[in-house]
């Protein structure tokens, strides 16, 4: 298990190792690590920094800034509900409550059998058609509470 993890981390890092004169790309690297492992383990932060030739702080800054980056493993599906200004104005909170009711878990928690993890974020950059819900890589706009059940059906 651990070795498989190690290989996947190594592969992700290797694919992003900067070749001079290219500058290291921290965000791209963290996304690659997350793609390989499902999240970015903080214990590997020094190793990531070393491969990129940057400091721990530079990696930590990026990692803590982007809501797309996770430092904890999530369930099979990650639901993120936008709580930004536009979404809030368009009743995003009601959507969030509907989702919580439907999957029976609070923000930050995971459902039984690790099917869903629910998180909130701001802002998803989708304000024109808010409120916004993102499940894994797919973005849904103009979501209303009544659609929630059908929407989540699609994710096993």
């Amino acid at each position: 298990m651990r070795t498989q993890y190690g290989t996947r981390l190594a592969e992700a890092l290797e694919s992003c190792r900067p070749v001079p004169p290219d500058k290291p790309n921290i965000l791209k690297t963290l996304l690659a690590v997350q793609a390989g492992l499902g999240y970015v383990p903080t214990s590997d932060l020094p190793q990531i920094a070393q491969v990129l030739g940057v400091t721990d702080a530079q990696v930590a800054g990026v990692l803590s800034y982007y809501s797309d980056l996770r430092t904890q493993p999530s369930s099979r599906h990650l639901i993120r509900v936008c709580r930004g200004e536009s979404c809030t104005a368009n009743h995003g909170l009601r959507v969030l409550l509907a989702i919580q009711d439907h999957v029976c878990v609070a923000v930050g928690g995971s459902t039984q059998a690790e099917r869903f993890t629910v998180e909130q974020m701001s802002c998803a950059g989708n304000c024109a058609v808010s409120p916004t819900v993102i499940v894994d890589d797919e973005m849904y706009g103009r979501v209303v509470p009544s659609q929630v059940a059908a929407l989540l059906e699609r994710y096993e």
Partner: protein
């Protein structure tokens, strides 16, 4: 251009911000996050203004000026906004955290007397306090997340140890990985080098020196100059109740421009160390007897008189200190020349840059940095040879990193993969001791590809043909075999260096401390001459002098072969002048260099020796011989702050005053003479070194009656054309003076050799590669290089007596990981390093900074006896020792072999390599 601010017409330059234009005109705008050291940022919004014809309230610190713009920085709307902003900052502060000074003042100024938002209605700052750095704390409660600290670490220091963590309301600065790794020890686990730039920039006191927290804010300020390395950073020493509590680098310091490093900024607490000497100590067998100053001075005079009478002047010698002031160095030399009548005077430059002196004298005719640090601003290329400025001259290191970030190409020639080497566009990782082969091969490429500056060569130099002949045999391919550097990299480096337009070269002890050290310096000068990279802004040959006054000690004539200002000892005009001013003849016979003194002592020819502030018994190579020599001397006087290894051999030990306790001048690595000023009194009764010389001299029948060091400087000026225009009045302008200063009207010289060289034309000296004095062999398969690390300073006498010890408390042997694996060594395992001369015990760590087959260690701790390993091999012409190449082997040791005493010392080590 002109614009109007608050009804006043103000002149500004294009590119200025409104804030800057106002500042220049004396209009102050409330601000927190702006700093003239940093790029515009605009996060605190206090400096908002109104501009006619434009809506909104832009931040004046990020808005560039336009001609005829009409700006208002006061007014009801702005005042209301500022009031609200400050109130919002206050609302974030956790309950009971106690508002920090600057914020409280601002609140007062803006009339905020209460916060209208009820507690709990909004988020407050997380309570995070990090006191893991030995010198300062971070308290999130006082922070306003302006990111000035982060910007300081990035833009000024270039270490990137800080980041703004998180986003939105919860954003806050943190060191390293912050809460992702260990929030309360973020500084300790980060790559922070404790330069203190962030602390200085922080406007709120969220980052604060521990000394100030413990002892209070300074009540008075004294401008002085740092006494560690050769950069010569200007500092404001903050004093409270007769003690220094803070050292802040001065923004108008010409060499450091407000920046500093860990040692100067925080490493001065040795001044209050409990084991500082305060009374003269006389040896009684194996014990010390405290004696009065009177009897101590009498004794020196008596013994020196006796020895001179019995054995003649040549039985006495002095080694003065490149840590001491110019005035003191001059006086020691004067004492030897006028009172004793010999030129047996030397200083510790012998072991570091004496090869630079010789090499630059032979080619350029003057031995000092040709250019200034400000030239780093205009250089088109920077080449660093055998130097590790980010650790040994950290402020220069930061400046080079800044230039590199602006896009200036960087070449590093060094056997080690140092921080700069990792950043560099080209790192030529040569084998130790092969500098000349590499530099000649670069010359070969320059010649072959027609990159010589023919006009410069014809007008300003001689001897180019010899050099061309010599380098024509040094192809990059041949050099590759000697240096291990791929031929194409050598070619690339030569092309970059030769065609940049202005190539700045600085070098360090990696060039000089070799068997053929002065040849290395000559080879560098040849390259600069061949490409015309000398005598113009942004170019030059710039030795990075190691100690605060190593330049000055040599300038002051503490050399057996030169008088002040490198005047020749047999110059008849000088002889007359000397006689007139000092009343004594100038001895013309060359004196002994330090290594010759050891030989003379062992042979019984040297009977009396005076050593000032220089721990030869720890820092000189081949310590066995040095200690033997010290034992042979009949009368050894040692003057020091602490009972150093050398002092332990003395018959008489005189306590010294530290740089914070006396007046004088130091000369930095860009020839800048700067004042040091007394900030506090020395421990009771201690005489500054210059007074000691006067007292002894008086007792020996040659009165010296200076009332203040300034009078000594006046005498130096009269004796030395190069310093003729130097006086304390002029030095008290903050910029000091860069020599030569030939007249009192002369501004000083930032750039040497603009029109001519001291000898008229510069001379090429053809030098060929010769192998180092020692090579790896079957019995001694590793090549060991020694050097400094950031945290400590030379013999460590000072830095080991500060909290720097919390960071690094042992020397460490760095070995390539593949060698570690081959020898089956683990990190931190203690090994025995054996050379043909001696052995040392050191903890070993794997490090990619060194090449396969090479080792590196520092020499800051006496317990590691690193210098026992080194040979007496030295540069032929200058006798600069070969610290950089020793053949050794590494053996594992059994635990029970360790001396229990050492074991304690070694077990307590924690390594912290700057990676």
């Amino acid at each position: 251009m002109n614009l109007t601010i608050n009804g006043r017409t103000v002149t500004a330059e294009s590119g200025d911000t409104i804030f800057l234009a106002a500042l220049k005109a004396g209009i102050s705008i409330p601000s927190l996050c702006v700093s003239h050291q940093l790029a515009p940022f605009g996060s605190c919004r206090l400096c908002i203004c109104e501009i006619d014809g434009q809506s909104g309230t832009p931040a004046s610190c990020t808005t560039p000026v336009r001609p005829d713009m009409v700006v208002h920085t006061e007014g009801d709307r702005l005042r209301r906004h500022r009031h609200n902003i400050v109130e919002l900052y206050l609302s974030e502060q956790p309950e009971g955290s106690g508002t920090s000074g600057p914020l409280r003042e601002l609140a007062l100024a803006c009339g905020v007397d209460r916060v209208r938002y009820p507690a709990g209605a909004h988020s407050t700052r997380a309570s995070v306090r990090d006191d893991s750095n030995p010198f300062f704390i971070f308290d999130n409660a006082a922070c306003i997340s302006c990111a000035r600290c982060v910007r300081a670490c990035d833009e000024i220091q270039g270490t990137h140890a800080l980041t703004m963590f998180g986003r939105g309301f919860s954003v806050r600065p943190t060191a390293g990985g912050g809460s992702l790794i260990s929030e309360t020890a973020a500084f300790a686990t980060s790559n922070c080098v404790s330069c203190g730039a962030c602390v200085k920039e922080c406007p709120t006191g969220a980052l604060m020196e521990k000394t100030v927290l413990e002892q209070g804010m300074p009540t008075s300020i004294v401008r002085t100059t740092c006494a560690y390395c050769g950069v010569g950073c200007a500092f404001d020493a903050g004093v409270r109740d007769g003690r220094v509590v803070q050292m802040i680098p001065a923004d108008d310091g010409p060499s450091n421009r407000g920046h500093a490093c860990m040692k100067g900024r925080f490493g001065w607490t040795y001044n209050n160390a409990p084991d500082r000497l305060s009374v003269p100590l006389l040896r009684r067998g194996n014990d010390w007897e405290e004696i009065s100053w009177e009897s101590a001075l009498d004794l020196v005079a008596q013994e020196f008189t006796r020895i001179k009478g019995a054995f003649g002047p040549d039985a006495l010698a002095t080694i003065s200190s490149s840590r001491g002031t110019n005035e003191e160095n001059y006086l020691f030399a004067k004492f030897m020349r006028c009172v004793i009548g010999t030129n047996h005077i030397d200083n510790c430059a012998r072991v570091c840059h004496s090869a630079t002196v010789t090499g630059m004298m032979d080619t350029l005719g003057a031995s000092a940095a040709t250019n200034s640090l400000q030239d780093l601003d205009v250089a088109q290329l920077i080449m660093v040879v055998g130097a590790n400025p980010t650790e040994s001259h950290p402020v220069v290191g930061s400046r080079i990193k800044q230039a590199h970030r602006r896009g200036v190409p960087l070449i590093v020639i060094d056997p080690r993969r140092t921080e700069l080497a990792r950043l560099a566009d080209l790192h030529l990782q040569l084998r130790p001791g092969s500098n000349v082969a590499l530099l000649n091969a670069m010359g070969h490429v320059l010649v072959k590809e027609g990159l010589l500056d023919r006009a410069f060569l014809a007008a300003r130099t001689e001897g180019i043909e010899d050099w061309i002949k010599t380098v024509s045999d040094c192809s990059p391919k041949a050099a590759e075999a000697i240096t291990g550097v791929p031929a194409h990299l050598i070619g690339q480096a030569a092309r970059l260096y030769g065609s940049s337009g202005a190539s700045y070269c600085c070098h360090g002890l990696g060039v000089t401390e070799h068997r053929w050290g002065s040849h290395g310096v000559i080879a560098l000068c040849n390259l600069a001459l061949a490409t015309g990279n000398i005598g113009r802004p942004g170019t030059g040959i710039n030795p990075l002098r190691g100690q605060n006054n190593v330049q000055g000690a040599s300038d002051m004539g503490c050399l057996p072969t030169f008088f002040t200002g490198y005047q020749s000892l047999d110059d008849p005009k000088l002889a007359t002048l000397h006689q007139t001013i000092t009343g004594r003849p100038l001895p013309t016979k060359r004196g002994m260099k330090t290594p010759d003194m050891w030989d003379a002592a062992i042979a019984g020819r040297l009977k009396g020796l005076w050593i000032i502030g220089y721990d030869v018994a720890q820092t000189d190579p081949n310590l066995k011989k040095v200690r033997e020599a010290l034992k042979q001397v009949e009368f050894l006087v040692v003057q020091d702050l602490f009972l150093s290894e050398t002092a332990k051999h003395a018959h008489l030990v005189l306590p010294g005053a530290s740089f914070l306790e006396r007046d004088g001048t130091f000369t930095n690595l860009e020839r800048r003479i700067q004042r040091i000023r007394k900030a506090v009194d020395p421990p009771q009764g201690i005489l500054p070194d210059w007074r000691v010389v006067c007292e002894v001299s008086n007792r020996m029948g040659y009165p010296m009656s200076y009332r203040h060091p300034s009078e000594i400087m006046d005498e130096i000026a009269r004796l030395t054309p190069m310093f003729a225009g130097v006086s304390y009045d002029r030095l008290d302008q903050h910029t000091g003076l860069q020599w030569p200063v030939p007249t009192v009207m002369h501004e000083g010289t930032t750039l040497m050799h603009q029109e001519t060289f001291p000898k008229g034309k510069a001379r090429f000296v053809a030098v060929e590669y010769l192998p180092p004095g020692e090579a790896a062999s079957k019995d001694y398969p590793f090549v060991l290089t020694t050097g400094r690390i950031l945290q400590h300073y030379n013999c460590g006498a000072q830095t080991r007596r500060t909290d720097i010890l919390e960071l690094v408390d042992t020397d460490v042997l760095e070995m390539h990981p593949a060698d570690m694996e081959r020898l089956q060594l683990r990190d931190d395992e203690i090994v025995r390093v054996v050379s043909a001369r001696g052995e040392a015990l050191l903890p070993v760590v794997g490090s990619e900074r060194v090449l396969l087959g090479h080792l590196f260690t520092s020499f800051h701790f006496p317990a590691s006896t690193v210098n026992d390993l080194l040979s007496s091999s030295a540069d032929d012409s200058s006798q600069c020792p070969e610290y950089k190449v020793s053949a050794v082997r590494v053996e594992p040791i059994e635990r029970d072999e360790l001396d229990p005493e050492d074991e304690v010392e070694l077990r307590h080590m924690r390594r912290q390599l700057i990676t």
